[in-house]
Amino acid sequence: MFIRPRIIPVLLIDDRDLIKTVNFKDRTYLGDPVNAVKIFNRKRIDELAVLDIGATKKHKAPDFEILQDIASEAFMPLSYGGGITSVDQARQLTKIGYEKIIINTQLVKNPDLVKHIVSLLGSQSVVASIDVKQVNGKYMCTIEDGQETVKVSPKTLARQAEDLGCGEIFLNSIDRDGIMDGYDIKLVRNIAETVHIPVTACGGAGGIEDLKKVLHEGHAHAAAGGSMFVYYGRLKAVLITAPSEKELVNVGVYGG
């Protein structure tokens, strides 16, 4: 049985810079992504997600050069999202070491592409990123790095993703992004109970207790976060870090 849910730091990059956002906006420059990966590697983190938000916004192809540099330092599972528009790019990404391909915009705009990538790489390699924000109290999905709202509920899009063959849902709460005040447990639970594939929750993690809560109460399969892995303390000093194995066991995130 699974006694070890995955804890996943998410690295946001834009034009080869490591950055962090709040509500998908208000960018802060943090440093060099390759250096961050080296630190995460030493910390033996479970998995790493790399999202190039610049590629999405500027409609650029994945920056294979920087992605290769990142992958060469990472002896852990890697996923990548941002600007993927072809099967060939997906194949190239796995070749350089990213075994999971994260799709957001094309999931809505070009579901056939998702199908093609699934048939080439298998379900386990394709992750549907569902970016959610509340509009007038209703959960809505967005694409294009949160810029474009689409008229479909997260539940419906999650089901569509599963039907297309995606092997995992990466559920992002834009409202909680960078807030470090806990995940949107209700949203996560809703989606986790809707689909049969694993749901990774993202958005809101401020500490280990938040990770535990989203796994236990939100029924998330994995807990991802940005800020808590790159900031330290009340003043948000930049510090690339991750909780230790011991801390996670003590709080009850791992084991039992």
């Binding site: 002896f75 890697l78 070491g97 048939s119 298998g122 386990q124 390699s125 092997g167």
Partner: protein, 204 residues
């Protein structure tokens, strides 16, 4: 020299990176001559069963691998899909596998109300079922990264080197003479995986 077989699928660079850290010469190749002259082979794989076997057949690498493994007795390690391809067939597709170890790949089956998701994705602990150079010195707190929806069902227990439990016990590593396969990703399992790859490179 270890040849990492390039058949268009798989995280080739990750394996090469880890072998480099271990200090073992390797080459990513689809060239028959280079595969024939290598001491050992690694068959990687991230992808679907049919796509994998079709790519191997199209480039006539399937025959080369069979010849090298079966007749030349060259040590070969299949990883993830690369392991599944060592079997006869898979519920994932219609094509015939390499049939180097007697097993079939089947999909995980759980009750509808089960909390277990498919794919089996994440880090898991394993049991070592026998002594083997590939598993030399590994017993203890080993954990490996898995991501798969199908698993090998061996005809015979004697081909099962490592098991893992996900709803029920399944083969996480299979062996037959010089032919080995692991369902998990050693190249993505930090120093736990590095120890296993080092065993393959230096002890098998």
């Amino acid at each position: 020299m270890i040849a990492i077989i390039n058949y268009g699928l798989g995280n080739l660079a990750s394996i090469a990176n880890m072998l480099k850290v271990i200090g073992v010469k390797n080459i990513i190749t689809s060239d028959v001559k280079q595969i024939e002259s290598a001491d050992k082979l690694i068959l990687p794989g991230v992808g679907s069963f049919d796509a994998g076997i079709e790519n191997l057949n199209r480039s006539s690498l399937a025959d080369v691998i069979k010849e090298q493994a079966r007749n030349k007795k060259k040590p070969i390690l299949g990883i993830c899909l690369g392991m599944q391809l060592l079997g006869r067939k898979s519920e994932e597709g219609k094509s015939e596998g390499l049939s180097l170890i007697p097993f079939n790949n089947v999909r995980f089956q759980f009750d509808n109300d089960s909390e277990l998701k498919i794919p089996h994705m994440g880090w898991d602990v394993v049991d070592f079922k026998m002594n083997h150079p590939l598993a030399d010195g590994l017993k203890g707190q080993q954990r490996y990264y898995f991501v798969h929806s199908y698993y090998a069902v061996c005809d015979s227990q004697e081909n099962i080197l490592i098991t893992c439990d996900y709803g029920y016990e399944f083969a996480a590593a299979v062996v037959k003479d010089n032919i080995m396969g692991v369902q998990f990703h050693p190249e993505k399992s930090h120093d736990f995986g590095m120890a296993l790859l080092e065993n393959f490179a230096k002890k098998c």
